[in-house]
């Protein structure tokens, strides 16, 4: 458990260092994800303890956004000034992005229909 967490943190640290020094427009943890993926590809399998730690972290991924979300309260003034364009742009653009991405992918990736499932709330 501890060694798996250490490995994940090492990947994040390496990612932070590489993106800082190379001036890449990618956040450190995303680079860390690529590093961990590469290590797994070299090893050829996911060790049980790393899988267990990752699954635990990702099962609660949504919780981790709560502190940043509460940050909304610090910006009520800014949001109030331009509330109409902001709210229309956020809702309209989010819906358009989801629809365009999903429809293009749906059309192009239709070949492997085994990856589809009955629609649910997901």
């Amino acid at each position: 458990m501890l060694s798996a967490l250490t490995l994940i943190l090492c990947c994040q640290l390496a990612g932070e260092l590489i993106t800082r020094f190379a001036g890449l427009p990618v956040p450190g943890p995303v680079a860390g994800m690529v590093i961990l993926f590469t290590l797994l590809a070299i090893k050829g399998s996911v060790p049980d303890d790393i899988g267990a730690v990752a699954d635990t972290l990702l099962r609660h991924l949504a919780l981790l956004f709560v502190p940043a979300g509460v940050g909304v309260m610090a910006h009520m003034g800014l949001l109030g000034q331009d509330w109409l364009p902001i709210s229309v742009a956020l809702v309209g653009s989010t819906l358009a992005t989801i629809a365009v991405t999903a429809l293009v992918m749906n059309r192009l990736a239709r070949a492997g229909s085994s990856d589809s499932a009955e629609a649910d709330n997901g």
Binding site: I8, M33, L57, L64, V66, H75, D115, A119, N121, G122
Partner: protein, 238 residues
């Protein structure tokens, strides 16, 4: 009564209380979400944010004070992002088989996200700073803030718009995808990750690992695509 005030002063100065509040509010949100039979608008993140903002406002607590406790939860976002490599690795055969479709859809989605955010904001008269802060709203927060700063927007406003976009995507995405009849897990995950980064990915992972893998990948690739495309588009049109 004096004792009680002392206890409050002590507790509110310690990280323990706001850490506990964050976890408890999210648990309450999850309970409500499960009880409702998973109604998208009862998204646990949304509920937890509303509950915490409400309690902080009522008790006159600043966001900075709250964050001293909540930062322990916030910190785990980094390791969790790294951990997205695991579902991606497990599903990589399917990702690779649809690589061309994935890249094409992602680019269409990324351009739609940037173009529609700037377009709608501009038509409705948003200021230049607001437009620049809106443009990278679909991108994971650290990258979005970097992009905005580079172009002369407001990074802190961007962070808020990114989180709001994430919540909107998680809430409105699934019913929209059902409405337009997209049942392919790859397309559903890709759309959620492109439009609403990590919060969309959290939502996709809860339902299906294949959707989660495509979503996590889309989040990373859209960050890269937007960081390259947005400055070019902005200079072309403004």
């Amino acid at each position: 009564m004096g004792k009680l005030t002392d206890v409050w002063v002590y507790l509110s100065a310690s990280p323990l209380m706001f850490l506990t509040l964050t976890l408890a509010a999210f648990q309450a949100g999850t309970w409500l979400y499960d009880r409702s039979g998973h109604k998208p608008f009862l998204n646990p993140v949304l509920t937890a944010v509303i509950v915490v903002v409400g309690l902080l406002t009522l008790s006159g607590t600043s966001y900075e004070t709250y964050f001293e406790g909540a930062q322990f939860v916030h910190f785990l976002l980094g390791p969790a992002t790294v951990a997205l490599a695991i579902p991606l690795y497990r599903q990589f055969d399917r990702v690779r088989r649809s690589a061309l479709a994935l890249i094409t859809s992602l680019l269409c989605g990324s351009l739609t996200a940037i173009g529609s955010a700037i377009g709608l904001g501009w038509v409705l008269g948003a200021s230049r700073e607001t437009l620049l802060s809106l443009a990278p709203k679909s991108v994971t927060a650290p990258v979005a803030m970097g992009i905005t700063e580079q172009l002369g927007g407001l990074p802190s406003l961007t962070a808020v718009l990114v989180i709001l976009t994430g919540i909107l995507g998680a809430v409105l995405g699934p019913p929209l995808l059902n409405l337009i009849g997209v049942k392919d897990w790859r397309a559903r995950g890709l759309a959620l990750g492109t439009a609403s980064h990590g919060i969309g990915t959290a939502r996709a992972l809860q339902v299906n690992e294949l959707a989660g893998a495509f979503s996590g990948l889309a989040m990373g690739l859209n960050a890269l695509a937007t960081a390259i495309l947005l400055p070019i588009l902005w200079r072309l049109f403004f």
